[in-house]
């Protein structure tokens, strides 16, 4: 049974729109980060595709602290907190 996922989102007040999360997410073929046409072609995270906390690849590559947060709690995930950034969660199993 796959582990439960936790919705995360991009905090647009902190994001620089550098698209590194998008590039990484596509590179590992998860494709959860997408460009939302409205309102301003910004990056968003599709909770139906995102594997967090089973995958934390985008958190490692994001250069802007606080840009990705847990949707419910607002907890900042960039840079990844130690309990999140564990070896078994850095990329989805079977992809690395």
């Amino acid at each position: 049974m796959p582990p439960a996922t936790i919705p995360i989102r991009i905090d647009h007040e902190a994001c620089t729109e550098c698209r590194m999360c998008y590039v990484v997410c596509r590179e590992i073929d998860v494709n959860a980060v997408y460009v939302a046409p409205e309102p301003r072609h910004r990056f968003e995270i599709d909770p139906a595709r995102c594997l967090y906390p089973g995958c934390t690849a985008c958190l490692m590559y994001c250069p802007a602290p606080g840009s990705i947060v847990e949707a419910a709690s607002g907890r900042a995930l960039v840079p990844p907190p130690p309990d999140v950034w564990t070896p078994d969660r850095r990329v989805p199993r079977g992809i690395a």
Binding site: C15, T16, E17, C18, R19, R40, H41, P63, A64
Partner: protein
């Protein structure tokens, strides 16, 4: 003196201040006169070539600026994100430069890139406002990266973003409108990374003071360069070709 050096700066407030100042400049820029002319149908291929030729010249001159700045981006002086974001900015502006010349070639205004380089509309001429803007940016090479980015990304880039958004929304010719609109996302990202770097990396009163001075100079020079581009496009000013210097 040491006391002054030790004074702290509020990077968040500084970033907001700098962006507000540039947004005031950006309310109306010389590029809006071009948009209005195109809207009235006072536009032809020659004006299009003049405009894209000058914009291409400005963008490709950024290699010269960024190359110098990168030499002064010292390892371990700033968090790794500062270097990474700068690399992305160089890549983005390189893409924009190529988009301008691609459109010039696609429309047949120049048969080859070599021919475009040689054309007066695309020539980099030292005795121009455009060149002055570029040279003044390059003169920031011996400043720290946080100050350069404060001046450029929260100054000229904010103004560039504003006119790109307006031309990308309202330009009557669809391919050119798409070209401008396509550059909005990256330019907005440059402004946002400018905010990030100022908020997190401008910590002293000295850095803040230098950032404010340079920000004013960069904005002024950029507006002068835009004024020259717009005037040249509309035929209100001569497009200078190659400048020769006598041997004596």
């Amino acid at each position: 003196m040491k006391g002054h050096m030790d004074k702290q700066a509020d990077g968040t407030m500084l970033a907001a201040d700098l962006r507000t100042l540039a947004e005031a400049d950006a309310c109306r820029t010389p590029m809006d006169a071009l948009l209005e002319a195109a809207g009235r149908g006072e536009w032809d291929d020659d004006r299009g070539f003049r405009l894209l030729g000058r914009l291409w010249t400005l963008k490709r001159a950024m290699y010269y600026v960024y190359g110098a700045w990168a030499m002064g981006l010292n390892v371990n002086e700033f968090p790794p994100a500062v270097a990474y974001l700068f690399g992305k900015q160089i890549y983005d502006d390189s893409t924009h430069e190529m988009q301008y010349v691609d459109e010039i070639l696609r429309r047949g205004w120049a048969p080859t890139q070599r021919a475009a380089f040689a054309h007066p509309y695309c020539a980099f001429v030292p005795a121009t406002r455009l060149a002055y803007f570029v040279f003044a940016l390059r003169a920031l090479t011996n400043y720290r990266q946080n100050i350069r980015i404060a001046a450029f990304n929260l100054g000229a880039k904010v103004i560039e973003l504003a006119w790109l958004e307006r031309l990308g929304r309202d330009w009557p010719d669809p391919p050119l409108r798409a070209l401008f609109a396509g550059q909005v996302a990256e330019t907005r990202s440059h402004v946002l990374m400018g905010r990030l770097i100022v908020e997190r990396c401008v910590g002293s009163a000295v850095d803040e003071g230098l950032a404010r001075v340079d920000h004013g100079v960069v904005r002024q020079n950029y507006l002068f360069a835009l004024d020259e581009i717009a005037a040249a496009t509309l035929g209100l000013a001569e497009v200078k070709g190659e400048v020769s210097v006598p041997k004596d």
